[in-house]
């Protein structure tokens, strides 16, 4: 039998989850899942490592028009593919489409804000935009460098004017295996 990957569903999933939890609890902190992603295959290994950690047949996802990524995620997790406006997890392999995806992603309801999308965005652009971020998980105000794509994604999120607790949570992934999160309560001010 052909073995596609060496990613352990038990131990590597746990390691990725702990990194992800650290990133979600400490927004904009970069953590690395390289060691685990290297055990997956193909160009989207960090995406697949996250999918293996979070998705199963109880969840739905959308990977836009990336058929290869969609097929891989279905093969590995048995998650249900669906439209981006109803998906629990949205994988944006093209960061330039993130703005459009955020505009249509589900944001939960006031009663059930957890029924909102988690948007996972691949972004390898240079991090040249400086932003100031504050909110839950951040000690005071921090200045960090993010990419133009990430900044546009956050601007689109803000333009949606979600009434908190509604909103979307974003995970940014680089091919190097670095990830960071921008959950819905994190406020960002751009600086030129």
């Amino acid at each position: 039998m052909k073995q596609l990957h060496n990613f352990s569903e038990v131990f590597d999933s746990q390691a990725v989850y702990r990194k992800l939890l650290e990133a979600m609890a400490n927004p904009l902190r970069k953590v690395s899942i390289k060691a685990q992603a290297d055990k997956m295959y193909g160009a989207d290994a960090p995406f697949l490592a996250l999918a293996m950690t979070l998705l199963d047949n109880e969840t739905s996802f959308n990977a836009d028009s990336d058929q290869k990524l969609t097929d891989d995620i279905v093969l590995l997790t048995s998650a249900k593919r669906t439209n981006s406006d109803s998906a629990d997890f949205i994988f944006a392999a093209d960061p330039e489409k993130a703005v459009e995806i955020i505009a249509h992603a589900k944001s939960g309801t006031l009663a059930d804000p957890h029924k909102s999308a988690t948007i996972i965005i691949k972004d390898n652009e240079a991090e040249n935009s400086v932003i100031s971020a504050y909110g839950a998980g951040i000690n005071g105000v921090i200045n960090v460098n993010i990419s133009g794509n990430a900044k546009r994604a956050v601007s689109q999120r803000d333009a949606q004017n979600y009434e908190y607790p509604q909103g979307v949570d974003m995970i940014f992934v680089r091919d190097t295996g670095d990830i960071y999160c921008i959950p819905r309560l994190v406020m960002v001010k751009g600086e030129e």
């Binding site: 979070l54 957890h114 819905r184």
Partner: protein, 281 residues
């Protein structure tokens, strides 16, 4: 404690599907601090109400490099704490400790350790009744709507009535607090003394209610304010003039111990690990 991992159990007892669901719920709970995320609480070889929510969180978190500490009412050696440690060790083989500094995951019932926790530590709290509005509204359907509409008037009224009747707020444990100016949250049955430790803490707090099937969280550096009126500020327990009979600490949460033979009352640190550390200095 020499217990070898039983390989017949899946690592961390729960099946991977269950862990995934708990992990997804936990991530949403962290993204929406104070909001109770429903989850499919699993059966465990321990009765619901004995810490199953906390155990499920711990089992979904734990990995081979973790060091676990379990405390019950501040004590590392109580029956609940010892048995939870044994159970987790049996299905993971991880290291356990009583030293708060060395633990990466601390599971607790009714207390937050005296030592301020660090950013790389996670405190898992066992919660019997996660709903702070349950005391004023019995129906889950209604409390969910109240949270959605931020309708917290009844719980404020309850505090007001307590002040009118007794001259002070009489809630001693499970004192409700507001998270990031949005959700009113039950901090689990920790004493009021521990409520300020939740505010702008360095560590991540996770709350698990197995019987009620809810998970909620407070990420680091999150604003958590105990409910209070402008003219009646929040007050925690006051141990003025009292000190621990073992270590002499006078700034910790103290348990009162009554000697029925001599009629003497004395006090002892509730956090046994901290008390031991002070004595060893």
């Amino acid at each position: 404690m020499k217990i070898k991992r039983n390989e017949e159990y899946n690592y961390g007892f729960l099946d991977e599907g269950s862990k995934k669901e708990i992990r997804r719920s936990t991530l949403k709970a962290v993204a929406i601090p104070g909001y109770q995320v429903p989850f499919g609480s699993r059966e465990l070889p321990i009765g619901r109400g004995w810490g199953t929510g906390g155990i499920q969180l711990t089992l979904s978190l734990i990995g081979p490099s973790d060091v676990l500490k379990v405390i019950d009412q501040g004590s590392d050696e109580s029956v609940n704490a010892v048995n939870i440690k044994k159970f987790v060790k049996l299905c993971t083989g991880i290291k356990t400790t009583t030293d708060t500094h060395k633990a990466t995951i601390i599971q607790s019932r009714h207390r937050i350790p005296e030592i301020p926790l660090k950013n790389d530590q996670i405190l898992v709290l066992q919660v019997p009744i996660p709903e702070p509005l349950r005391i004023v509204e019995p129906k889950e359907e209604v409390t969910k709507k109240m949270h959605a509409e931020k309708d917290y008037a009844p719980i404020w009224l309850q505090l007001y009535e307590s002040i009118i009747k007794y001259g002070k707020v009489t809630i001693s444990t499970e004192y409700p607090c507001t998270v990031e100016d949005r959700y009113i949250m039950n901090p689990s049955p920790i004493p009021k003394f521990d409520n300020p430790k939740l505010n702008m803490s360095e560590c991540l707090y996770l709350f698990g209610a197995g019987r009620e099937k809810k998970i909620y969280a407070i990420p680091p550096y999150t604003r958590v304010e105990s409910l209070a009126f402008d003219d009646v500020p929040f007050e925690k327990e006051n141990f003025k003039g009292k000190k621990c009979c073992l270590c002499g600490s006078c700034d910790t949460y103290l348990d009162e111990i009554f000697n029925s033979e001599t009629g003497e009352r004395y006090y002892q640190c509730s956090d046994t690990s901290y008390c031991r550390e002070v004595r060893s200095r």
